[in-house]
Structures are given as structure tokens and as C-alpha cells.
């Protein structure tokens, strides 16, 4: 088993390098010159050169063949990419162009907000998606089955941003039950070790704070959860249907096991395998979806921050933000693979 995990971890490294390379390349694909974009159109010639020098924008992209020609081997490797990777290796993501704050700082600040939102919506998606999938699988072609399947299809086809707006319109504007946006009402203060307001408020026993944080997070979380919920419900149903047709289910029934035991003990554990993989993939869509939800609900997460940076051409933030989201995505898939191996003995004992 450990051999399998090690092999999986090793195979992640090329993907990571690939991801950093892709992000680096995007950076250099921009039409126009980053230095000008930073300083504005009418900046002076030498101030542009100073910026270029400072950010090492005038070094060659990958390898400096002129330096090599002069016999300077170390110069050969002194290029933007190598410096970029070097800085990356000790977590130096550079500074935001507009605000001069190190990218890492803001990242640390805003990251928990996105994590809390994504985590909550994933939990909602799983808690509703899996039971719906199981019920409609066990009662195939019944009313519940077709209703839940069409329902999950609607969930999958739901444009998150539009659902968010509808939620705001109904619950915030018309009924005024919930606040329209933001993460916490003014006047509330929640700080704790995890920086997840819901968790911290519970830890500190601050119920009012918890209620307020919850009222802020519930609408974006539900909006973000609709697509993964639909996908997980449909995948659970089709995976359960496949498993229920297997021979060992017939063997279990022939042993005298009741329907419930067959469903939850024998069928569910086998059906869980593909569902776990899907949940891993959904994590990615959640993070990407965060950009939209955070914009509508003005949620102080990294999704919104990266989006603003993209529009503002603030490359270090774009680079740092996308890299973090991609890393989370790769990490989640790695965890899913290992979870898969734990669940399936055929992989554990190769």
C-alpha cells in the first residue's frame, strides 16, 4: 500500500512542474508590456526600464544562449523561468504591483474565506447528493427516481451566478431574511486558530457570531453547491445501478440478507469508489466557481481577488492565486486517489 502511495506522490511532481510552467507561460502570453501596464501609458522611458530591471523582465525567458556563447555557464541559466522557479521554491510569490504587499500575505488572509465557502458547499453537495442518488437507485423508475434525476439535471444546468442573484433577490431584497453579501456584519469580530468563522465562533462559544456568520455564508454556499450536488447525485445513482447488477449482490441476497443490508453493506461500499473520484473532480469546479460566487456575494476570498487582479493586470497576484488554486486541485485529487486505494483492497494488495 505505501508503495502505491509513494508512486502516486512521485507521479504528482511532473504535474506540479507542468502547472507552474503553464502559469509562467500565461504570464508571458499577454499582449502588450507588463511594465507599461503597471505604470500606465505615459510613463517615462527610464522608469519603464527600471521596472523591467527590477522585475527581471528583460532577462530571456528560459535560457540565455548569448551568455552561453560567451562561455558564462551560470549566466546561461539566469533566466526569468529559473528565477521564477527559484523564488517559488522558497514561497516568494513576489509583490502585488498596485499595492506593494507581498502576495503571500494577502493569500494567507483571504485563503480561509474561500476554503470555508468551498468546504461548506462540498459538505452540502455530499449530504444531499449521495442520499438522493441511493434512494433513486433503490427505487428505479419510480416517481422519486425520475423527480430526483430531473431535479439533479436542473441542478447541473444551473448557472451559479444567476442562482446567486435569484437568491439575493428573493431572500435579501424581497423577504429580507438574509444579508445580501459580505462575510460578517459590521460590529462582529471572530478570530481563532482556524480562521474559519463558523468553526472559530463555535470554538469560542460565540453563538451570535456563529448565527451571523452562518446567515452570510448560507446563500453563496447553496449557490456553489448546486452543480456538484447534481453531479454527485447522478453519479451515485448510476454507480449504484451498476453495482446492484453485479453477481455478488445476488449472492448476498441468496444468503438471506435483507434488502437494506444488501444495499448499505454490499452495494454502497463498491458504489462509493467512482463517487469518491467524482467528488475529487468536483473540488476543482468548486474552486473555479468561487470566482463567480465571490463576485456576486462580495465574499472576501481568493477567487474574487484573482479575478480583480486579472482585470487589473496585476500579474504576481494572478500567478500566485492561480497557482494556489491549481495546487489545491492537484492535492485534492491525490487525496482522492489514496482514499480510493484504501477503499479498494484490489489496489491495496496489488
Amino acid at each position: 500500500m505505501t508503495r502505491y502511495i509513494i508512486r502516486r506522490i512521485i507521479s504528482v511532481i511532473p504535474t506540479l512542474i507542468g502547472v507552474t510552467f503553464v502559469i509562467f507561460m500565461f504570464q508571458r502570453l499577454i499582449p502588450g508590456d507588463p511594465a507599461i501596464a503597471m505604470l500606465g501609458e505615459h510613463a517615462t522611458e527610464d522608469s519603464i526600464n527600471r521596472i523591467r530591471e527590477q522585475f527581471g523582465l528583460n532577462r530571456p525567458l528560459f535560457l540565455d544562449r548569448e551568455a552561453l556563447a560567451t562561455g558564462d555557464l551560470s549566466g546561461f541559466f539566469d533566466s526569468q523561468y529559473v528565477n521564477y522557479m527559484e523564488r517559488l521554491s522558497h514561497l516568494d510569490l513576489g509583490e502585488s504591483i498596485h499595492r506593494r504587499i507581498p502576495v503571500l500575505e494577502t493569500l494567507k488572509l483571504r485563503f480561509p474565506a474561500t476554503v470555508e465557502l468551498s468546504l461548506l458547499s462540498m459538505i452540502i453537495a455530499i449530504l444531499i447528493g449521495i442520499p438522493v442518488g441511493i434512494i433513486s437507485a433503490s427505487r428505479r423508475n419510480s416517481l422519486i427516481d425520475s423527480v430526483s434525476m430531473v431535479g439533479s439535471l436542473i441542478g447541473v444546468s444551473m448557472p451559479i451566478f444567476w442562482l446567486g442573484l435569484m437568491e439575493i433577490m428573493l431572500l435579501a431584497v424581497i423577504l429580507k431574511w438574509l444579508p445580501a453579501g459580505g462575510r460578517l456584519s459590521t460590529g462582529f469580530e471572530i478570530n481563532g486558530i482556524t480562521h474559519l468563522y463558523l468553526v472559530d465562533s463555535l470554538l469560542n462559544g460565540d453563538l451570535a457570531g456563529f448565527k451571523d456568520a452562518l446567515s452570510h455564508i448560507i446563500m453563496p454556499a447553496v449557490a456553489l453547491a448546486t452543480i456538484p450536488m447534481g453531479i454527485i447525485a447522478r453519479m451515485t445513482r448510476s454507480s449504484m445501478l451498476d453495482v446492484l447488477q453485479e453477481d455478488y449482490i445476488r449472492t448476498a441476497r441468496a444468503k438471506g440478507l435483507g434488502g437494506r443490508l444488501v444495499l448499505f453493506r454490499h452495494a454502497l461500499k463498491n458504489a462509493a469508489l467512482p463517487v469518491v473520484t467524482i467528488i475529487g473532480l468536483q473540488a476543482g469546479t468548486l474552486l473555479a466557481g468561487a470566482v463567480l460566487t465571490e463576485t456576486i456575494f462580495s465574499w472576501p476570498g481568493i477567487g474574487r481577488w484573482v479575478y480583480d487582479a486579472i482585470l487589473g493586470r496585476d500579474y504576481p497576484i494572478v500567478q500566485g492565486g492561480t497557482l494556489l488554486i491549481a495546487l489545491i486541485f492537484v492535492a485534492v485529487n491525490l487525496i482522492v486517489d489514496i482514499l480510493y486505494a484504501l477503499l479498494d483492497p484490489r489496489i491495496r494488495y496489488k
Binding site: V19, F26, V150, I154, T285, L287, G289, F329
Partner: protein, 409 residues
């Protein structure tokens, strides 16, 4: 004891059932499911309204401006205040939302078709080639092209460093030679040594003119290329490399990649299509590859080989017709996702450039007026997105049950 002698024995050798092709059966199953019928209805409505309006309903987005009708609620009767009927009401520039929603359909359709087209063509070809050459051993011609291309690609780095395009010719030739003489000292150390020496000769010697350290670096690269070409490059290795690249793209969350691409390439519907298309390539590549793998191990492919059919004929006559089902289902669902992604980009201001009518952009412009009660400007474009996407998803679901009926006992 009378026994009918077998000669004049009439055997009903075929239970008479009318002749039915597989596609005919699939169509009958599709029609029989009502969710599929609903999906088909919505899709047909969406496509016809989009195309008809584009060609027959004149609309000039730039000239459409009428401040007097700013943010009017939907009205079905003409009143003195509002001279014209606006079933969906009007937006902040007084433009009729109904008309823009219908015309927006054309843009969404275009984005969907082009994006899915890109993903399908590139992803499909990659999936087909990797799946096929992973199982079927290559003919000499195919092997030589694979070796030649690898030689060219690996050589290009050293050629760029030494700034001598001539090296490219050398490396490609090295690849072609390694491919042609695959059997030559196969699997022995001698072969690796031979080709690595050749690699060094091709790269280091010409690089000497550019400088000793350049020659050193190019020599190392030549050595690596030589070793690489000496090892038995085959379909499996090619497939592994391609799949790793696909995983890399897939490890990027779809939306974000599209947003990043469009942001860097600048807004505009055309770039949006390319972004969504590129993001979809690995999905289609993996899907096609697994469909091909399930077909290529079947005995009728071996039969085709034993008859001596060429690889091209095997791919087009035997493999492609049998992998269409999963691809059709994925394409339908893909169209749904493409429309959704296009709308998302539009909403973020990265899609269509105003005043071009596009559902996402319409939402993006009007959601600020939500708090001041202009609900119709937000409701109807969003509804249009959801319904069209739902239509494609329903149709896709129906197609999956119709084309691969194993689930319906």
C-alpha cells in the same frame, strides 16, 4: 416408425423479425423516454429561435438605444406611456430584453458549437491515436514518423541553443534512422551507445563553432536524445506522454483556465470560444481513448488485421462507427457546459463586447439594478441560460440510455 429424412426437412432457420438497424433501435428507445423528448423539444426550440432570429429578424445592437424606455417592467399591452410591447421588459438602455435574449441565443449557440468543435476535434484525434497505437503495433512507416518527430522535437532545443537550424535536420535524420532500424541490436547496450555517440556528433560538433560551452551543453542534449531514440519507442510510450499532458491541462479547474486564457488574450466572444474549447480537449481525449480501448481489444479488429486491412481502414471502418455512442452523449453534454461557461465569462465581463447581445453579459450589466427592483432584467436572461443548458443535458441523458441500453433491463 416414420422419420422425415433430413434433406427435404424445412427448418425455419430464422425467426421472422423485421430488419432493424442499431441506429433504428436507438432512435426508437430515444423517442420512448419523455425526458429525452422534453430535452429534444427545448433544444430544437433553442436552435431554431437562434438561427431564425439571426437571419430573419433584423437587429442592430449599436443603434438600439432609447432612454425613454429605461428599465420598464414587462408589459403585454400598449399604453400611452410605453408605445411598444416588451414581454420581458426593457434594460438600463431602454433596449427590449426579449429581442436581445432571442438574439443572444445565436451567440450562445455559436460559442457552444465552436468550443465543443475544438475540444472534439483535437481531443478526439488525440484520444483515437493514443488508444489505437497503445494496443496495435505500429507499421514501419508509422514508427519512422514517430521517431522522426521525436528526433525533431528533442533536437530543436539544442538547435536553438547553438542557433544552428541545421542541427534540426541532423536530429530528425537520427530519429528516422533509429525508427527504421528498430531491430538493429534491439534491446542491447550496443544500440544505446551507438545512437548516443551519433547524437553527440550531430549536436556538439557544429556547436563548436558557436563556442566551447555551447558545444558542451548541446553535446549533453545530443547524448540524451540518442539514448531516448535508442530505447524502443512505441505506441505505449507515446500514449503515456500524451495522457500525462492531458492530465496536466485537466489539473486546472476548467472555469479558471478559461478565465485566465480570455483575460490574457483579452475579452471577446471569439477568444471565449477558444478558451472553453481548449479547456475541454482533455475531457474528450480521455473519453475517446477509453472508448477506443474498449473496441480495439475486440476480436473483429483482430479479424480485420488477419485479413490484412490497413490501419487507416481499421480506424475508419471498424473503430470510429463503434465509438460514436459515448462521443455523441459527451458532445451533447459538452454543448450544455460550453453555454454555461460562455455565460459565466460574459457575466464577468470577459465574454462578448457590449453592446453585442449575450446572456451572461446581459446578466452582468443588470444585476446592479436588482436592489432597485428591476427583477425582469436579471430573471429572463438567466432563465434562457438555464433552460437551454437543461435542454441539452436532458437530451444527453436520453441519448445515453438510448445508445447504451445496458442499464435498461
Amino acid at each position: 416408425m416414420t422419420q422425415i429424412n433430413p434433406e427435404e426437412f424445412i427448418v425455419t432457420d430464422f425467426a421472422v423479425r423485421e430488419h432493424r438497424s442499431l441506429w433504428g433501435d436507438a432512435w426508437r428507445r430515444l423517442i420512448s423516454s419523455n425526458t429525452a423528448r422534453l430535452g429534444m423539444f427545448v433544444v430544437i426550440l433553442f436552435i431554431s429561435s437562434a438561427t431564425l432570429s439571426h437571419f430573419f429578424w433584423e437587429y442592430e445592437p449599436k443603434k438600439d438605444l432609447d432612454y425613454s424606455l429605461k428599465l420598464k417592467a414587462p408589459n403585454l399591452t400598449v399604453t400611452e406611456e410605453i408605445p411598444s410591447i416588451h414581454p420581458f421588459g426593457t434594460d438600463k438602455l431602454g433596449r427590449d430584453i426579449f429581442r436581445r435574449v432571442v438574439h443572444g441565443g445565436w451567440n450562445s449557440l455559436r460559442v457552444g458549437i465552436v468550443a465543443v468543435g475544438i475540444s472534439l476535434i483535437f481531443g478526439g484525434v488525440i484520444g483515437l491515436l493514443t488508444g489505437f497505437y497503445e494496443t496495435i503495433t505500429m507499421t514501419t512507416v508509422e514508427r519512422i514518423t514517430l521517431f522522426g518527430i521525436s528526433g525533431f522535437l528533442l533536437g530543436s532545443l539544442s538547435a536553438w541553443i547553438a542557433n544552428q537550424p541545421l542541427q534540426l535536420v541532423g536530429f530528425t535524420l537520427l530519429g528516422l534512422v533509429a525508427g527504421y532500424f528498430e531491430g538493429f541490436w534491439a534491446g542491447q547496450l550496443k544500440r544505446v551507445v551507438f545512437f548516443s555517440v551519433l547524437g553527440i556528433l550531430i549536436s556538439a560538433v557544429p556547436a563548436l563553432f558557436a563556442g566551447s560551452s555551447v558545444a558542451l551543453v548541446c553535446g549533453v542534449l545530443g547524448l540524451l536524445t540518442g539514448i531516448f531514440l535508442a530505447l524502443a519507442l512505441d505506441g505505449r510510450f507515446f500514449s503515456n506522454v500524451m495522457m500525462r499532458i492531458m492530465d496536466m491541462i485537466l489539473s486546472f479547474p476548467g472555469y479558471l483556465l478559461a478565465i485566465a486564457i480570455v483575460a490574457f488574450l483579452g475579452p471577446g466572444l471569439g477568444k471565449g470560444m477558444i478558451a472553453i474549447g481548449v479547456v475541454g480537449i482533455p475531457v474528450y481525449a480521455r473519453l475517446t481513448r477509453s472508448a477506443v480501448l474498449s473496441v480495439v481489444n475486440k476480436e473483429y479488429i483482430l479479424a480485420a488485421q488477419s485479413v490484412g486491412e490497413s490501419h487507416g481502414r481499421i480506424i475508419f471502418r471498424h473503430i470510429t462507427p463503434n465509438i460514436l455512442s459515448p462521443i455523441i452523449v459527451q458532445t451533447t453534454m459538452g454543448l450544455a457546459n460550453a453555454i454555461l461557461s460562455a455565460a459565466a465569462l460574459g457575466f464577468l465581463g470577459l465574454g462578448a463586447i457590449p453592446p453585442e447581445p449575450e446572456w451572461g453579459a446581459m446578466l452582468g450589466d443588470s444585476y446592479r439594478y436588482l436592489t432597485s427592483g428591476a427583477w425582469w432584467a436579471v430573471l429572463f436572461p438567466g432563465l434562457a441560460i438555464m433552460l437551454s443548458v437543461l435542454g441539452f443535458n436532458l437530451l444527453g441523458d436520453g441519448l445515453r440510455d438510448a445508445l447504451d441500453p445496458k442499464l435498461r433491463t
